[in-house]
């Protein structure tokens, strides 16, 4: 395999939430590196800080201290415009609750990031149709999100995340609201995207189905990295879980 560069670098990130009188430290100093093209799962129980870490990596939330580098650029240094550009072009987001824009059709949801990115309407429509076909939604371009099943909505969200050919896809519990079979389909689709398009995929999840496709798994417990495992180590781990 060719030399891969580091696409995400997280350096001693802390995040403290002020909840009235109490202060909750969701992240207590997380440091990690992710290489381009990797499929990473951030695993951990609810409340362990994985979503907080995920938001910090995606530039959706500012860490209290510490730095996040995307392509060696410290995202805390970006102005509003550059940050919007980063979210538009570099990163694609997928959420547990799909977060499609309800008033728009599937196709319009997919083309919106392209329009923000300055693409003209015809080109965007063409690309949007191609992306929806890619995720297996050939005949549902003009359906609104309410008219689609959960799995179909998540497919639209995946197509949308790919809109501007991002380098990174961040998926927060992408299978959390889906049944087992649909969840598996979505995981398979994500894996295919990472293979075919060489996109770095980072998921925050507690879905064990995700383990089988991940290159590395980062276990977060109580705001700290508990362990980072490669796939080889993982198979043993999964075996243990199954045999238990």
């Amino acid at each position: 395999m060719t030399e891969r560069h580091t696409i995400v670098r997280v350096q001693d990130v802390h995040r403290v939430f002020n909840l009235g009188k109490h202060q909750v430290e969701a992240l207590k100093g997380v440091t990690l590196e992710i290489k381009a093209g990797e499929y990473i799962s951030i695993m951990g129980p609810s409340g362990s800080g994985k979503t907080t870490l995920f938001n910090a990596i995606g530039g959706l939330d500012k860490p209290t201290s510490g730095k996040v580098f995307i392509d060696e650029v410290d995202i805390a240094q970006l102005d509003a415009f550059e940050l919007a550009w980063l979210r538009n072009r570099k990163i694609g987001y997928i959420f547990q609750t799909f977060n499609l824009i309800q008033v728009m059709t599937a196709l319009e949801n997919v083309t919106l990031p392209m329009i923000f990115g300055g693409m003209n309407n015809d080109e965007a429509t063409q690309r949007g149709v191609a992306l929806l076909k890619l995720v297996g939604l050939d005949k549902r371009f003009n359906h609104k999100p309410q008219e689609l099943s959960g799995g179909q909505q998540q497919r639209v969200a995946i197509a949308r995340s790919l809109a501007n050919d991002p380098a990174i896809i961040l998926a927060d519990e992408p299978t959390g609201n889906l049944d087992l079979a649909t969840g598996e389909e979505i995981i398979e689709l994500l894996k295919r995207m990472s293979r075919e398009r060489n996109v770095t995929i980072i998921t925050a999840t507690h879905d064990y189905k995700m383990l089988a496709v991940s290159d590395r798994v980062i276990w977060i417990v109580d705001g700290r990295i508990d362990k980072i495992e490669d796939r080889e180590q993982l198979n043993i781990q999964v075996g243990e879980i199954v045999s238990r």
Binding site: H5, I7, A36, N55, G58, L60, D61, K62, D71, A80, F81, E82, A84, W85, R87, N88, R89, Y93, F95, N99, L100, I101, Q102, V103, M104, L112, P113, I115, F116, G117, G118, N121, R160, N164, D165, A167
Partner: protein, 228 residues
């Protein structure tokens, strides 16, 4: 490979654009308005009523002024009977302080109503706003979408309200003073009244949405999406 491209600074400058063309913004706004038709009708109705009252008062006093300026003593008498405080002959009929107070208060109430309605409407859409920001929308995109929506609502509401106010004022004046009321009125003054109504309505609508939209636009995406 993509990473090498972005390393080039001139290339970066060209590619680093995030835009929301006005036509698309308009399209999105109209769509949002259509989807939430009944909620929007409520907001618009507040505006219609306030603007109708505003225009009604303006037009009524213009009509009375027209009658007074005609110099016809019979008409002056009916005016007095209708409760107008008539000035000395030769002086013009001014609007009373009470009238001005009523108008100002009605506009104030309407403003509070509209801010309230828009605050609800914006809060309801936090998730949508957060999502848009994740897709690369700038704060200004969000602000623009809401201002366009409020502008369209304001235009529709104040146009309807203004015409409604004009019609009611005319009908009422003709009932009380006969056809002379319409005959003596200056069309230019009435036209100005309608325009003033539209202007005030539009301003109310835009001012009402500005604060909620600004709050929403400045939120961090996660905050916006966490809010339910």
């Amino acid at each position: 490979m993509r990473q090498h491209e972005t390393g080039n600074s001139t290339d970066q400058a060209i590619r680093k654009i995030v835009v929301l063309p006005l036509r698309i913004a308009l399209e999105i706004s109209v769509k949002s308005l259509r989807v939430r038709f009944f909620r929007n009708m409520l907001t618009v109705m507040t505006l219609v009523l306030a603007v109708a009252f505003f225009t009604f008062v303006l037009v009524s006093s213009d009509l009375a002024r027209g009658l007074w300026n005609s110099g016809d003593p019979a008409l002056a008498q009916t005016l007095e009977k209708a409760g107008f405080d008539l000035p000395a002959p030769g002086e013009s009929l001014a609007s009373t302080a009470k009238e001005r107070w009523l108008v100002a208060l009605s506009l104030l109430v309407c403003m509070v109503g509209i801010i309230n309605a828009q605050l609800m409407a914006v809060t309801e859409r936090f998730r949508e706003i957060g999502t848009m920001k994740c897709l690369g929308a700038l704060d200004s995109f969000v602000l623009r979408l809401f201002l366009i929506e409020a502008g369209l609502q304001g235009l529709a509401g104040s146009l309807a309200g203004s015409l409604l106010g004009l019609l009611i004022a005319m009908a009422l004046a003709m009932l009380r003073f006969g056809l002379a009321a319409a005959a003596q009125a200056s069309p230019a003054a009435l036209g100005l009244d309608v325009l003033a109504g539209i202007g005030v309505g539009l301003a109310l609508s835009l001012i009402g949405v500005f604060y909620p939209a600004l709050v929403a636009a400045r939120m961090q995406p996660v905050e916006a999406m966490r809010a339910e």
